[in-house]
């Protein structure tokens, strides 16, 4: 170590300067005041409200679009603030996030659950404290939440797969590229595939996980194609993986002409814009989507309605859209990047 005065003083100054800068940055980010929840219904416009949103992760763009739609909807109300946490797909982080949000003081919670159990204790606590909770997209095992803005993932997946099976005429070898193993929505959707397959005994399905990412979808499709050159169709558990899969198909010699003629027949789930562009091009045949923006808007509006003294139903299923070449123009936006999500 250098022992000159300058370096020695830096030993103390550097950590000091860094901590001051960090403290300043953090301080400037968290300016919201503390609130105590009042049992009495008040006039909505008369006070300030805070909504907490615990997002399971931002590891795929669907969840990013959900977060953005929640931000956008909250921004419509001048007297409502939003606190956002990101659990990074970790149940432990989500438990801590929810504890932090409750400690900070929120008037309502929106929970995008990591799994079926992580949020349960926070949901119970909210019920005791009289704080309304909106569970969005993924189901939780507790029934103490106020409302569930729900996607029926099991049915969503089953619908997509049945379209593929019908598309290839009901028999032959297919591949299913599944989502992230163990993630709540993937588990539910895999059950959907389990529901469908026994009904078609002449379908032989190869099932591998593409982790909902473009890179994994590409890699796994390459491998599955190599092992099974006789595939009649592929169903992707997400448009992002489908885009990777089509790259793999093209790289292994399939022309766009062949793909358009349904060799192999391609279907997937969700309204990822990159995937919709492929449906527009005739390469993908079908997608079923659960739009993230509707989830975000309905979650926030449900809380606002409760703040105003109203009631919301316990279950609020989200509409599913079936997208084919005929109606893709209602959903796709050719000017937007792949990572954009359809309404």
């Amino acid at each position: 170590m250098c022992r000159c005065f300058c370096c020695r003083s830096m030993n103390y100054l550097f950590p000091l300067v860094v901590s001051v800068v960090v403290a300043f940055l953090l301080g400037s980010c968290s300016s919201s005041e503390r609130h105590t929840f009042s049992e009495l219904p008040e006039n909505f416009a008369e006070r300030h409200w805070v909504i907490g949103f615990s997002n399971a992760s931002e590891s795929n763009t669907w969840r990013t679009a959900l977060r953005e739609s929640i931000e956008k909807t909250v921004a419509k109300y001048d007297n409502v603030d939003l606190l956002i946490t990101d659990a990074n797909d970790s149940p432990a982080k989500q438990v801590a996030d929810l504890e932090d949000l409750l400690a900070k003081g929120v008037d309502g919670l929106i929970i995008g659950a990591v799994n079926t159990h992580a949020a349960n204790s926070a949901i119970s606590e909210c019920e005791q404290m009289g704080i309304p909770t909106v569970v969005v997209d993924r189901a939780v095992s507790s029934d103490k939440f106020t409302t569930f803005v729900a996607t029926d993932h099991r049915w969503l997946a089953a619908t997509g797969l049945e379209q593929l099976i019908n598309g290839i005429g009901g028999s032959g070898k297919i591949a299913i590229i599944e989502g992230l193993p163990g993630a709540g929505a993937a588990v539910e959707r895999n059950q959907g595939y389990d529901d469908v397959l026994p009904r078609y005994p002449s379908i032989n399905a190869v099932r591998q996980a593409g982790d909902w990412s473009r890179a994994s979808g590409q890699r796994v499709t390459e491998n599955v194609l190599t092992a099974n050159p006789d595939l009649l169709g592929i169903h992707f558990d997400g448009g992002e993986m489908a885009v990777g899969g089509v790259q793999a198909l093209r790289a292994s010699g399939f022309t766009d002409e062949e793909l358009r003629s349904g060799k192999p027949f391609l279907t997937w789930t969700d309204g990822y814009n990159g995937g919709l562009k492929l449906i527009k091009a005739g390469i993908g045949k079908f997608s079923v989507q659960h739009p993230p923006r509707i989830h975000g808007e309905l979650s926030v509006e449900s809380l606002i309605k409760i703040f105003k003294g109203g009631r919301v139903p316990k279950q609020q299923p989200i509409r599913l859209d079936f997208i084919t070449l005929e109606n893709v123009d209602e959903y796709v936006d050719m000017d937007q990047p792949d990572a954009y999500w359809a309404h």
Binding site: E58, P181, Q208, N223, V224, T226, A227, E240, P337
Partner: protein
């Protein structure tokens, strides 16, 4: 590291003459044998090309990691540096108003190297453990990747940029060529340059190296810069291959890179190991993933199978050196 003494003498001596990577060579051959036996498509030309292409990103990162681990260090930031640089390269390309491609790449590679230099400065200046310094950098680079990309993949990669990911030179895919080139360069630097010999000296015994006049600081500075540089190269190859820069591109990749280097016979205590071993380690990890797909093993069981194969590969080495 030498092989288990239970192996008959002749074979053992033959393997020992292969040096510290003997275990990796045996494990590699075993997996190739097993793979060709279990999956008829495993040894087809197309699948070999797939495995090589799929290993290219991990491979270039493993080259940098080999240097770091040879100095008895560790670099946990490489995965997130790869994420960050993939996003930065895509942004420079898509929104750089026609910035020439070489500048996009040079800027990205310089960013990677600069992050490595910063890691090394903290490690050398505070005499801090590389584990914790690079762990902090992993969080910083990961956060920066999400911040600059606003959490979403950055698209718009096309033309000669995309060619790097999907093109061929003769029969060889470009990313494979890049990986093999980087491995060769790494091996030559380790073997034939003074710096390469100093890496082994610092990792073998830092105090002895210092007393013999080697500048430990300089060696570490260059080493971590190489690691950051190779992670950035991985980021470029990733974004070219997938045609997006993805803030999640390198998630968990640092652990695969460390596993590849250690399977390749490089000691986590430094001073022992070869570049050839890391290449084989990279191929072993990629082949395991590839085989599990080919054999249609349940996704839930794949982690289990991968871990067991890695453990078996590690037990081919004896615990003392």
């Amino acid at each position: 590291m030498v092989l288990q003494s239970r192996v008959p003498g002749v074979i053992r001596r033959a393997l020992q003459s292969l040096g510290p990577s003997a275990g990796a060579i045996v494990a590699f051959l075993l997996i190739v044998l097993l793979g060709s036996f279990l999956a008829p498509t495993f040894l087809t030309g197309r699948n070999i090309a797939n495995v090589l292409r799929q290993s290219s990103i991990l491979g270039v990162v493993a080259v940098g990691m080999t240097f770091v681990i040879l100095t008895a260090g560790i670099d946990l930031s490489v995965g997130m540096v790869l994420s960050l640089t993939s996003v930065v390269a895509a942004l420079l390309f898509a929104e750089g108003q026609g910035l020439p491609l070489p500048f996009v790449f040079l800027g990205t590679l310089a960013l990677g190297a600069a992050i490595g230099v910063f890691n090394a400065l903290i490690i050398v200046w505070r005499d801090a453990a590389p584990f914790i310094v690079t762990l902090a950098m992993m969080a910083i680079a990961g956060g920066a990747a999400l911040t600059v990309s606003n959490g979403r993949p950055i698209g718009g990669i096309s033309g000669s940029y995309a060619w790097i990911g999907a093109g061929f030179v003769g029969p060889i895919p470009v990313p494979v060529l890049a990986m093999l080139g980087v491995f060769l360069l790494g091996a030559l630097v380790l073997r034939y340059t003074p710096y390469g010999r100093e890496v082994y000296a610092v990792g073998g015994n830092e105090e002895a190296a210092r007393l013999s006049g080697i500048s430990i600081r300089r060696v570490k500075l260059i080493t971590y810069a190489i690691s950051g540089f190779s992670a950035a190269l991985g980021g470029i190859i990733f974004s070219a291959r997938v045609t997006v820069g993805d803030p999640w591109a390198g998630r968990g990749l640092e652990l695969d890179a460390i596993a590849a280097v250690v399977i390749g016979g490089t000691s986590l205590f430094g001073g022992v190991g070869t570049m050839l071993g890391s290449l084989l380690g990279t191929l072993i990890i990629t082949m395991i993933n590839n085989l599990l797909n080919l054999l249609n093993v349940s996704p839930y069981m794949q982690g289990l199978a991968k871990g067991i194969v890695i453990l078996v590969a590690i037990t081919l080495y004896r615990k003392d050196r």
